[in-house]
Assembly symmetry: C2
Homo-oligomer: 288 residues x 2
């Protein structure tokens, strides 16, 4: 149980966390800050936060738990803004989709207090952004990956685990490197591919007509293409090395299918489609 | 109102059509045939068809409406099998995702009776196949594209339009060429890309671990990768020229994103993601 959550970034991710924490009775008071004062005000009006803070630093004042829920490229500036009020007894977490860059920022900005920071990636989201879409169920039943480093305090790690667990999440721990490799493949690449495919269609003269014919397969495949541009710019850029490597493997896999099409090899094509189909049919979210 | 539906192919698409027609009171009797006798039997046991036919030809005997719902590469053999009982008063339709190859097959096999055939593509489906997933609501609210040719009889076209309309579909008409170009972009390419991406991940040594971390974005993006291998082998192969052209445009769009990542151009990246995001956010299924 916490006294006060300092929420920095009152968007979809941060707002949903605050609502979930409140509903679970895990926090008494939420003090929130967003870069845009109108967002902070809306968060208060919606009951997502209780008190508006005029700065990130003041959102941290008096907090025993802090969530940094900003686009990953804004993490370092945020840590620098709050460092003077960070102490080793606080639990500080983030929700970033990349972990190595966030941890580098934390080391540089928080220095001797970096042990208070537990890097977190809840594997949850929506294609819409903004506090108006905040949802106390967003994290429920989802996986949360924690990527502690050698300096992470054991007590803070245990608190973070217990907190996400209490929100109904499945908590996993792995190295920041393993995390970034995996999410390059299963999240960042699909986003980049979905962006590229939508752009390729809409850039054709007949693209708008084509789009008007698209059905449920297209709807689901491209849902993630509607994601927030600033958030995804930061994620793709932060993890670009792993992402470019995954994109190379993907393009080689695509070229294999094209070669079978060009040579008219129906048997080979059926076999590769069969591999994808049986893999995907067996897959269950959050299961080995 | 029809007396008897001859259903050739009692799978997801054909079975759903039979159930929808029955529920709407548009047919008195459904006589069904599938290549596998156990499928035909299951279709009867499930109430999808009323009578099992021992051959495609016998499924057509006595029918005033015929639906050919087989993988597109099996269309020509099916038309050849039934040609001796096809007459100009019947309404014959298909549900194929490609139209030029199906029409070529119909011209070759049905010859002077090709005017009884109205080429149809209901833009509906599921990633699961088989009559056990047949669903009377599958087509409801979906688009159906009719691609008549110069020989298509006006009366049969009008009957087909009225039938799909009565099932709650939005009926569109266009040329087979326009159809195949559009669906290469919005359906066949997304399927090929989803197959390639799943294969690229699972072929890596750490692929299974990566997959166990994947979340809701991956789930929706790859849903179509679980599609039936034979059905999609045929579709991709039948429309390969248009598909390869769309794949080329997609890869060029992807290369544009990669170039911005490599050069660290965050502004350019945000702009391209923004184009995809606003396009997809505005898109509504079945709306111009």
């Amino acid at each position: 149980m916490f006294e006060q959550l300092g929420l920095i970034g009152c968007g979809l991710m941060g707002g949903s966390f605050a609502l979930a924490l409140k509903r679970a009775g895990l926090v008494k008071r939420v003090v929130g800050y967003s870069k845009s004062p109108s967002t902070t005000e809306k968060a208060r009006q919606l009951g997502v936060i209780d008190v508006e803070a005029p700065s990130a630093l003041l959102a941290v004042s008096g907090a025993d738990v802090v969530l940094v829920a900003v686009p990953v490229a804004a993490t370092e500036a945020t840590f620098k803004a709050i460092r003077h009020l960070v102490d080793r007894d606080m639990l500080i977490m983030d929700v970033g989709s990349t972990k190595r860059d966030v941890i580098d920022s934390a080391r540089r900005a928080l220095r001797e207090n970096v042990g208070a920071f537990v890097p977190c990636h809840p594997v949850a989201g929506k294609e819409v952004s903004g506090v108006e879409h905040a949802d106390p169920d967003l994290y429920s039943g989802k996986q949360v990956v924690l990527t502690p480093i050698e300096k992470t305090q054991v007590a803070q790690l245990a608190k973070a685990e217990a907190l996400w667990d209490a929100l109904g999440c499945h908590v996993l721990k792995m190295s920041p490197e393993a995390h970034d490799s995996a999410f390059a493949a299963v999240s960042h690449l699909p986003h980049m591919v979905a962006f590229a495919l939508v752009n390729a269609i809409v850039s054709q003269p007949t693209g708008p007509d084509f789009l008007s014919l698209a059905g449920p397969g297209f709807r689901d495949f491209t849902r993630i293409a509607a994601s927030d541009p600033k958030v995804w710019r930061d994620i793709l850029m932060a993890n670009r090395q792993e992402l470019l490597e995954q994109s190379r493997l993907f393009q080689s896999s695509l070229a294999g299918l094209e070669k079978l099409l060009e040579s008219g090899d129906g048997e080979g094509l059926e076999s590769l489609i069969g591999q994808a189909s049986s893999t995907r049919a067996r897959w269950r979210m959050g299961k080995k």
